[in-house]
């Protein structure tokens, strides 16, 4: 991007200090009790910063690329600050802002640690990239996403996927990679995608997702992979060159020590006071032991990475910085939208059925962060049974009453993250890495209109018709 590298990270720190301070000395700290604590409903007009940011993210890179690339960090932070000031000084609600900021810090800690740790790993696949080999590769990525998360799998596999297909690569290769590895694949475990992890923290048993979602995951993955196979089969680009190359069929793996860091990140995910009672909470600071470990891994894995591997991966912090800047704005500005949705859902929960939960969670997950969306709709679904999402025993009771709502919310929160570039954190990073490799990726709208809607939407409609 054309943004100065030494751009103000200080602004982010300023928000952190501002929010933390407001929380500690806030006049009405008694309301800071739980997710469902009573907060004053925000004005409907306060969703404007969020809508403006979404519109700018969608149109900026197309219509005013230069301006956008130079100024997007400032715009994102400024729009976020409007929401912060409104909540702190108009609504006197520091909890909502601190809470979302805490989620943002967790989000960035996870993404940045996976990004840096996987950046020190070099995988070279010396195989002829046929549609069938690509199918196996994507399937492997989809499965492994449940072990190292969609972000970890995306960062680890996108480069070898591009390299393997370098003589025949097209944007659709990257887009299907985003569909499968960066999103849908990770629907089977709480490690796979952040919303499922939040569910796990709230009391959803670890293997509940696997046991209850695998029969939806398999046909969905297969349907997307089948679509990929037929598209890829028609791609005859570079055939002359490929047939002349003598492939050894080997897979070279360098930077094995970074697997230890990746394992450390996955273990750190569980270091949470809600999972392990001995873990101290650092509240009201918007950071926990887990995040400290993850940021520590960012430092160690970068410091100890082999320079040749970093050079081969053209390692640069810019993709993660782009995500950090855009998502601070998205996270902060989406607070009013989420609260309005949550309030609506709670006051109308009798009218909400599985279909509503599936589509509402899905559509909102495509443009909002899927984690709070998941949580708000889980809260609304539990409200149908007068249960509280903040009480673990009640989450279990909710599941035992009728788990179809949780299934619908879990599936759509993960699946629909693939609908747009901003639906899930790794989408943007995969796009950025691909562009740095020289692949001209479709715009925000082109991605949605040419790929996500024609390919994913029919599959998601079928999933809805069959399973919900």
């Amino acid at each position: 991007m054309f943004v100065s590298k030494n751009f103000h990270f200080l602004t982010l720190i300023l928000i952190l200090i501002l929010v933390s301070t407001m929380n500690m000395f806030g006049a009405d700290s008694s309301t800071v009790l739980s997710e469902t604590a009573q907060v004053v409903e925000p004005s409907i007009f306060m969703i404007l910063p969020f809508l403006i940011l979404l519109m700018l993210i969608a149109t900026g890179p197309i219509f005013y690329k230069h301006f956008w690339e130079r100024h997007y960090p400032k715009i994102s932070i400024l729009l976020g600050l409007i929401t912060v000031v409104y909540y702190l000084y108009v609504l006197k609600d520091s909890y909502s802002i601190l809470h979302i900021f805490t989620e943002y810090v967790s989000f960035i800690a996870l993404l940045s640690s996976l990004f840096v740790a996987s950046g020190g790993i070099l995988i070279k696949v010396n195989r002829k990239a046929t549609p069938f080999v690509n199918v196996l590769f994507l399937l492997f990525g989809g499965v492994i996403a449940n072990v190292i998360g969609t972000t970890g799998a995306s960062m680890l596999l996108i480069r070898p996927f591009i390299k393997m297909n370098k003589d025949r690569i097209k944007p659709y290769h990257i887009i299907f990679f985003i569909f499968i590895v960066s999103n849908v694949g990770g629907a089977l475990t709480p490690i796979g995608d952040p919303p499922l992890f939040i569910g796990f923290l709230r009391g959803v048993p670890f293997f509940w997702v696997f046991v209850n979602v695998w029969h939806i995951w398999i046909p969905t993955i297969l349907a997307i992979i089948l679509a990929f196979y037929f598209v890829d089969k028609r791609n005859k680009t570079g055939q002359d060159k490929i047939t002349k190359i003598d492939y050894s069929g080997t897979i070279e793996f360098r930077g094995g020590k970074n697997l230890i860091y990746l394992a450390g990140i996955i273990l750190a995910v569980f270091i949470d006071p809600n999972v392990m009672s001995w873990v101290p909470s650092l509240s009201p600071l918007p950071i926990g032991i887990r995040e400290i470990i993850m940021f520590g891994i960012v430092y160690l894995s970068y410091k100890n990475a082999h320079p040749d591997i970093l050079k081969a991966n053209e390692f640069d912090f810019e993709p993660i910085k782009e995500v950090a800047y855009l998502f601070i704005g998205i996270f902060l500005t989406m607070v009013p939208a989420l609260q309005l949705i949550s309030n609506f859902a709670k006051s109308n929960h009798d009218l909400l059925d599985t279909t509503t939960f599936y589509w509402a969670t899905g559509i909102l997950s495509a443009v909002l962060d899927n984690t709070p969306t998941y949580l708000n709709f889980l809260s609304a679904a539990m409200g149908k049974f007068y249960l509280d999402v903040n009480v673990q025993s009640q989450v279990l009771e909710f599941i035992s009453k009728d788990d179809v709502f949780l299934r619908a919310i879990s599936v759509s929160a993960v699946f629909f993250g693939a609908m747009t570039y901003i639906g899930n954190g790794p989408n943007f990073m995969v796009k950025s890495i691909s562009e740095r490799a020289g692949i001209q990726m479709p715009s925000f709208f082109a991605y949605l209109v040419k790929y996500a809607i024609p390919i994913l939407l029919p599959i998601y409609v079928i999933v809805w018709l069959i399973f919900f």
Partner: protein
């Protein structure tokens, strides 16, 4: 005037000053990737790039950058596809893929991209 092959063989460096890159050979640029920007418009009216051919060397001005050393990080490269002067541009074998690394003292390291570097023409 040195050819690209000679430059690579001798490991001769180019130069860069602020937003200007100086390459010690002449050629026809086909594509430049700098960060996540893919540039292919090298016409005189391009908003992004100005290319100036001089006797024995060529200059590329990145109009939207101020200081390349600040924009292109340690392990990043500016990647170019170029055809050497007087070579057949339509013969794909003549399309050279080069990675340019801004270093210290305005020196620009020039390397042929190997299989490790992700670079799709």
């Amino acid at each position: 005037m040195s050819t690209i092959s000679e430059i690579l063989k001798k490991k001769k460096n180019g130069l860069y000053y602020y937003n200007r890159v100086i390459l010690p050979f002449n050629g026809c640029l086909l594509k430049i990737i700098i960060e996540d920007n893919i540039l292919t418009d090298f016409s005189p009216t391009s908003k992004h790039i100005y290319v100036k051919e001089e006797d024995g060397f060529m200059s590329i001005y990145f109009k939207e950058y101020k200081h390349l050393e600040e924009e292109v990080s340690k392990y990043e490269a500016i990647k170019i596809v170029i055809v050497e002067k007087d070579k057949d541009i339509f013969d794909l074998k003549n399309h050279r893929k080069l990675a340019l690394y801004p270093g210290e003292n305005h020196e620009l390291k020039i390397e042929a991209t190997d299989d490790d570097i992700l670079f799709i023409e």
